[in-house]
């Protein structure tokens, strides 16, 4: 008899967990996935492509309906979970259904942050988090429409370039002095800005938002320096916070996210959490790679094999409007030695951060093929003395 395993959340972490489970413990669990969004799990990273019209929404689907069926997973999407009845070992859905579980996994992701600005609730102000947001933006996006995207991080850049790709006159405002300041150094950020501007996005740095203007709908964004940026659409894309609502309500230990141990277990040994909703060793990751690593560990654990998650080296590996950008490790530049490769013509930039003969961090712009190589070196603390000369050129060529 299979044990009932319920996964709340139908995002990328949940899909990866199902995939890992099917590879390890086929038939051990009767798996049910509960998702609030009315779609199959999709690749959130590709939303900007959909927004830009470069990809139909259907292509973001991670797995086909047939795949889910073949795995024997019960999919309950479009029906949010409302509560966890820990005493009864059941999940209560918004429609009143109760799903008993012997084990429960929380993969509830995160909420987009909405800045508490005056006028933030006006029509025309939206976030950029899910397909529903994309649908709304696509409906509004037409040539001639003006949009302001707030947030110069990954999400904001994707929203802005997506909108610009859809023909919208787009301005990106960012409160810091450079884009993606947590992932990029000044040079890479400048190159990224140039690339984004080349896509038709106007970038305003050091821009503090003060209020959304408009009576019945948004008409612009007022900045603290007095400037008013006209806008029909205002997209708040300034970050996410873990969605620990259900866990908190169920009395599970939470901080910013649901606190988990190295087995991804909450303080209830039968309840687990992974992905953006989970907080491990004080860190709630907002990226897909740690979620996938957690999925592998959790799948092993659920399959009865010893496995431990010891945290992820944060890396960002993405394409911003077609420009590959990679960032990993400590890129603060304090106490580290620089190795810099800069190709002005090809717009390729690499900065490696070395301390004590070990790679600590890496920023890559334009050519990220070696990102995972650097990530390995950082994660494994590989001594690089022997590699140093060739390090900036990436993985050594195989000996002939």
């Amino acid at each position: 008899m299979s044990e009932p395993l319920v996964i709340i959340g139908n995002g990328m972490a949940a899909a990866k967990l199902c995939e890992e489970l099917s590879a390890r413990a086929l038939g051990r669990h009767a798996v049910a996935v509960v998702g609030a969004e009315p779609t199959l799990a999709y690749n959130r990273v590709l939303l900007s492509e959909v927004l830009a019209g470069r990809m139909p929404a259907a292509d973001t689907e991670l797995k086909t309906a047939g795949w889910w069926r073949a795995q024997g997973v019960t999919l309950l999407y479009g029906t949010p979970a409302a509560a966890i009845d820990r005493a009864a070992r059941a999940v209560v859905l918004a429609d009143g259904q109760r799903l008993p579980f012997s084990r429960l996994v929380l993969a509830t992701g995160s909420h987009p942050i909405r800045l508490p600005l005056p006028g933030a609730d006006l029509p025309g102000v939206t976030t950029f988090r899910d397909l529903a947001d994309v649908d709304a933006l696509l409906k509004a996006a037409r040539p001639g429409v003006k949009a302001v995207v707030i947030g110069g991080g990954l999400l904001g850049l994707e929203a802005a370039t997506g909108l610009a790709g859809a023909g919208v006159d787009t301005t990106l405002v960012h409160v810091m002095d450079r884009l993606m300041e947590r992932q990029l150094d000044a040079t890479a950020a400048r190159l990224l800005r140039e690339a984004v501007e080349a896509q038709g996005v106007t970038v305003e740095l050091n821009a503090h938002s003060e209020a959304v203007t408009g009576e019945t709908c948004a008409t612009g964004l007022q900045l603290k320096d007095g400037r008013l940026l006209e806008a029909d659409l205002i997209v708040m894309a300034c970050g996410v916070r873990p969605n620990a609502d259900l866990a908190r309500a169920a009395g599970l230990a939470c901080n910013r996210g649901v606190i988990v141990d190295d087995r991804l277990s909450t303080d209830d040994p039968d309840i687990f959490a992974l992905g953006e909703c989970a907080e491990h060793r004080g860190l709630a990751y907002g990226l897909v790679a740690p979620a996938y690593e957690q999925a592998r560990v959790l799948a092993a654990h659920l399959a009865g094999r010893p496995a431990a998650y010891e945290g992820s080296t944060v890396s960002t590996n993405l394409k911003v409007s077609g420009v590959p950008v990679f960032s990993a490790g400590d890129i603060s530049g304090t106490g580290t030695e620089d190795i810099v490769l800069n190709d002005r013509g090809l717009k390729i930039y690499r900065r490696l951060f070395v301390r004590d003969g070990v790679l600590q961090g890496a920023v890559l712009f334009g050519d990220t093929a070696d990102g995972l190589y650097y990530l390995d070196l950082i994660t494994n603390r590989t001594p690089i003395a022997e590699l140093r000369t060739e390090l900036a050129f990436g993985r050594p060529a195989l000996a002939a």
Partner: protein
């Protein structure tokens, strides 16, 4: 149907490099270059060419040519002018110096690269019309001791044998001759003889050269003891009853005294071994080989000549051949291997300060004879100053006017720094050159005259076997370049001697030269071209290679393969003279300079690289100047292989990269002579060399200068390579503060760099370089200041590599081969461009070129050996390496033994 294109005719001419004098067939490619092949019909090489000859087509471009006359303006800068103005300036300068200081204040410094015709006119002008015998040449540095030795023994400057003797010998002795590298085509003939008839090869040389590695017996004797070895041999031959008593009796004089002197110094093999530092058994084996082998040829070159005892060494060798009568017969004889293509031609016309003309000296009857022949108004009546003395007189202000032709004394003379200063202080300094930018051109000449170069020149040269061959033109003169003889005749005319220099063609000069050789000769002088004194222009045009003396016969001009088999020497008594060399003296102690510096050539370069330096292939074998040192000496001086060392003598200093070489005799160093101030920052080896000369020949001792050495910090190594179009437009100066050496690469130039400098500073240099090339927007940089790395590259608008700069901690810099390959590409694919600074772009086997003829790098040969090629023949089949000139065969054999024997 298109009319067929006219097929360009191949022109038969002669190689301009060493004294072998190989026949070359040159076919113009219609684009200023030419396809070069060996001339199978030429008796010197029978179709073979060495790496340098085979690369001649790469060295005839215009990029470094001097294309028009230049004169020094009031501000000191050289400015373009026309020939008339330039020649007026030369004539006026000579006139003033002659009037104010007399003919002794005038000098000519000529070159073994000149044609006989140019040489003849220069010699005639100086010695007959300006009245100065200060006419010396770079041949003084090359074979003056052989000349002096020949004259002492034979009464004439005669090489008795022919190259055929090498084919027919059973024993070939090479002493002071690295023929595998310096006369490769002859060395191939020797190798063929060894194959065909088992000829034994003995090599006598203080260092284990590529030639020595091929020897049946290698005698690494102590520096400067060659004469003792041959004196010991003479004693042995006498004691063993191996003398040719009849020959000695009939054709020689002085044998008894000479043998007695030899016996006093080297009574037996043991004594000889003691003096020469050789194992007695090896000495005995050498003696026995010589004793038992009738057909013995002894070849000698710079190791014998360039010595304070050079003439004695030559005579010690000649003694043994005279004593055994092994001279002038097939397969035997002493054989001076000349360094330069026309050193012998220069000697024929009198192009040495101690010769007058046509093998006549300064005996009163000779002076009178030549005066009458030339109808000369101002005959020089006594010997002039030989090269080293000439430049010393210049430094003292005694010589005030100098005309240099086709040579680079600022690099090649002993105390080269002093020579440079001496030239810069002249009242009149005229330089005839075919290239710009030589060190000598940097010595403030007043007039630069553009000379025609090989491929444009028209005249004759004489090789080491007395063979006169034509150098024929197959290209139009570059720019306004003119033959040197024409410029000389023009100056003569301006000085009022036009009637004696009214030559219209080189053939006319040759006829006069031949006529002088025949003038009142009657068999009294070896050099006799009477058979050619009336040669017609048409016959001169098609003159076949011929060995002098050439006398008229009913069948036409003859030629002479060998002399002296039946005596007939040119001493007053017609007998050859035995001469006892001075006993070997202990090497003079030079406090503070404990090592002896030997200098010489490397395989693929020639002289100061003004021509071979234009060939990418030739630059690849040894791209930068090096110092060869025995590992023990290096360890004692705290120097490591690959590091830099400063070498200091009493006269100058250089900084060279060190190569450890167990074949180098402890206590001695070797450095190549080729690099100049134009091609390297600190490698003018001539600046170190002491001014000691042989007392008889005046030839400088270029092979034993006392020096000391010290390590030089060079934490940073690397290179700069730059595209030709770019580097020509904006001549590059290498990064400041580094030692550098420049080499020609396919498509551009490369500078090898070494020094002790902060790599972090190079960003600004690269930025300026890129800005200067108009390609700053394409700059690629790698910087790792803590790791000590800096690399940069930039690209032209069309995507070709403009330059690449790589600096790294010593031992970690990539080889430049991979980068250099990219210079030749018109466009670098983007995929390769990403890897450009890694050196991974381009791919292919790399390393220094081992086979320059076919451009085969070391990496490819190692690959072939590992892939199953276990002898040189197999390597040749697989890669063609070693199948042309063969000068890389010793290196191939060494690589085979190193690669096949597990370490």
């Amino acid at each position: 149907m298109n009319a067929p294109l006219p097929v360009p005719q191949a022109t038969s001419t002669t190689c301009p490099y060493c004294g072998v004098g190989c026949g070359v067939k040159a076919t113009p490619d219609g684009q200023g270059g030419a396809i070069i092949e060996g001339d199978a019909a030429h008796p010197a090489n029978l179709g073979r060419l060495c790496s340098k000859g085979a690369a001649l087509g790469e060295t005839i471009g215009l990029e470094t040519r001097l294309l028009h006359p230049m004169v020094r303006a009031g501000d000191g800068d050289l400015q373009r002018t026309d020939w008339g103005t330039a020649l007026d300036r030369v004539a006026e300068g000579f006139r003033r110096v002659l009037e104010a200081h007399g003919p002794q204040a005038v000098a000519f410094y000529l070159s073994g690269q000149l044609l006989t015709e140019d040489y003849y006119v220069a010699n005639k002008l100086a010695k007959g019309f300006l009245g100065t015998a200060n006419v010396d040449t770079n041949s003084r540095l090359c074979m003056a001791s052989s000349v002096a030795g020949h004259k002492r023994a034979f009464g004439s400057d005669t090489v008795p044998g022919a190259y055929e003797d090498l084919d027919q010998a059973d024993l070939i002795i090479l002493t002071g001759a690295n023929s595998a590298w310096c006369h490769p085509v002859l060395f191939r003939r020797m190798a063929a003889a060894r194959q065909a008839r088992g000829t034994k090869l003995v090599v006598i040389d203080p260092r284990r050269t590529a030639t020595a590695e091929e020897a049946d017996l290698f005698l690494p004797l102590a520096q400067g003891t060659d004469a003792a070895l041959f004196s010991g041999l003479l004693v042995h031959l006498a004691d063993a009853g191996a003398l040719d008593a009849a020959f000695i009796d009939r054709h020689t004089e002085g044998f008894g005294e000479t043998l007695a002197a030899a016996r006093a110094e080297t009574p037996d093999a043991a004594a000889t071994a003691r003096i020469t530092g050789l194992p007695e058994a090896d000495v005995a084996r050498f003696f026995a080989l010589f004793r038992n082998t009738e057909r013995t040829v002894t070849c000698y070159s710079q190791g014998v000549n360039q010595s304070v005892r050079g003439t004695d060494k030559v005579n010690a060798i000649l003694n043994c051949h005279l004593a055994t009568g092994r001279i002038g017969r097939a397969g035997m004889g002493p054989f001076s291997l000349t360094g330069q293509p026309n050193a012998m031609g220069g000697r024929e016309v009198g192009g040495l300060a101690n010769q007058l003309a046509a093998h006549m000296g300064f005996a009163p009857e000779d002076v009178d004879r030549v005066r009458r022949f030339w109808d000369a108004p101002h005959m020089a009546g006594a010997e002039g100053l030989k090269a080293v003395d000439m430049f010393a007189a210049m430094a003292r202000g005694e010589i005030r006017a100098l005309w240099v032709m086709g040579t680079n004394p600022a690099v090649s003379l002993p105390r080269a720094d002093a020579a440079r200063r001496a030239m810069a202080g002249l009242d009149l300094f005229v330089l005839s050159e075919n290239v710009v930018g030589t060190d000598t051109a940097g010595c403030a000449p007043h007039v630069l005259l553009p000379a025609v170069a090989w491929g444009e020149k028209d005249g004759t040269v004489t090789n080491s076997e007395r063979r006169i061959s034509r150098q024929r033109p197959f290209l139009m003169p570059a720019g306004e370049a003119k033959p040197d003889w024409w410029a000389l005749a023009q100056v003569a005319e301006r000085l009022g001697h036009g009637w004696a220099f009214a030559f219209e063609t080189p053939a006319a000069i040759f006829r006069e030269h031949a006529a002088l050789s025949a003038f009142e000769n009657d068999g009294t002088r070896d050099f006799d071209l009477s058979g050619l004194k009336d040669v017609s222009d048409a016959a001169y045009a098609v003159l076949a290679p011929v060995q002098w003396p050439v006398r008229a016969t009913p069948e036409g001009p003859d030629g002479t393969a060998r002399l002296f088999a039946e005596g007939g020497f040119f001493t007053p008594s017609r007998r050859a003279r035995f001469l006892a060399p001075a006993p070997v003296a202990p090497a003079p102690v030079a406090p503070g300079f404990p090592l002896l510096l030997n200098t010489g050539r490397v395989r693929d370069q020639w002289h100061t690289m003004t021509r071979t330096g234009l060939s990418p292939r030739l630059g690849s074998h040894i791209p930068a100047p090096v110092l060869m040192i025995h590992p023990e000496d290096a360890a004692a001086a705290g120097i490591t292989g690959g590091g830099l060392a400063e070498i200091v003598s009493a006269h100058g200093r250089v900084v060279l990269e060190v190569r450890l070489d167990a074949g180098q005799k402890p206590g001695t160093l070797f450095a190549p002579i080729h690099w100049s101030g134009a091609t390297a920052s600190d490698a003018r080896v001539g600046a170190l060399v002491h001014p000691l000369t042989d007392p008889v020949s005046g030839q400088p001792d270029l092979k034993a200068t006392p020096v000391r050495l010290a390590p030089v910090a060079a934490e940073t190594r690397g290179f700069l390579i730059a595209r030709a179009a770019f580097s020509a437009r904006a001549p590059l100066s290498p990064p400041p503060g580094l030692h550098w050496a420049r080499a020609r690469l396919e498509g551009g130039h490369g500078w090898l760099l070494a020094g002790d400098a902060d790599p972090a500073a190079w960003g600004a240099y690269a930025e300026a370089l890129a800005a200067g090339a108009g390609c700053a927007e394409s700059l690629v940089e790698l910087s790792d200041p803590v790791g000590g790395h800096y690399r940069a590259a930039a690209f032209t608008a069309s995507g070709a590599l403009a330059f690449a700069l790589v600096l790294a901690p010593a031992g970690t810099a990539p080889a430049w081969d991979a980068f250099a390959r990219l210079l030749a590409a018109e466009q670098i694919p983007e995929g390769d461009r990403r890897a450009i600074l890694s050196g991974r772009a381009g791919g292919g086997a790399c390393g220094p070129l081992v086979c320059a003829c076919f451009g085969v790098p070391r990496g490819a040969i190692e690959g072939a050996i590992k892939g199953g090629c276990h002898d040189t023949a197999a390597i040749g089949t697989a890669l063609k390496a070693g199948t042309n000139c063969g000068s890389c065969l010793p290196e191939l054999r060494r690589m085979l033994s190193e690669t096949l024997v597990p370490a």
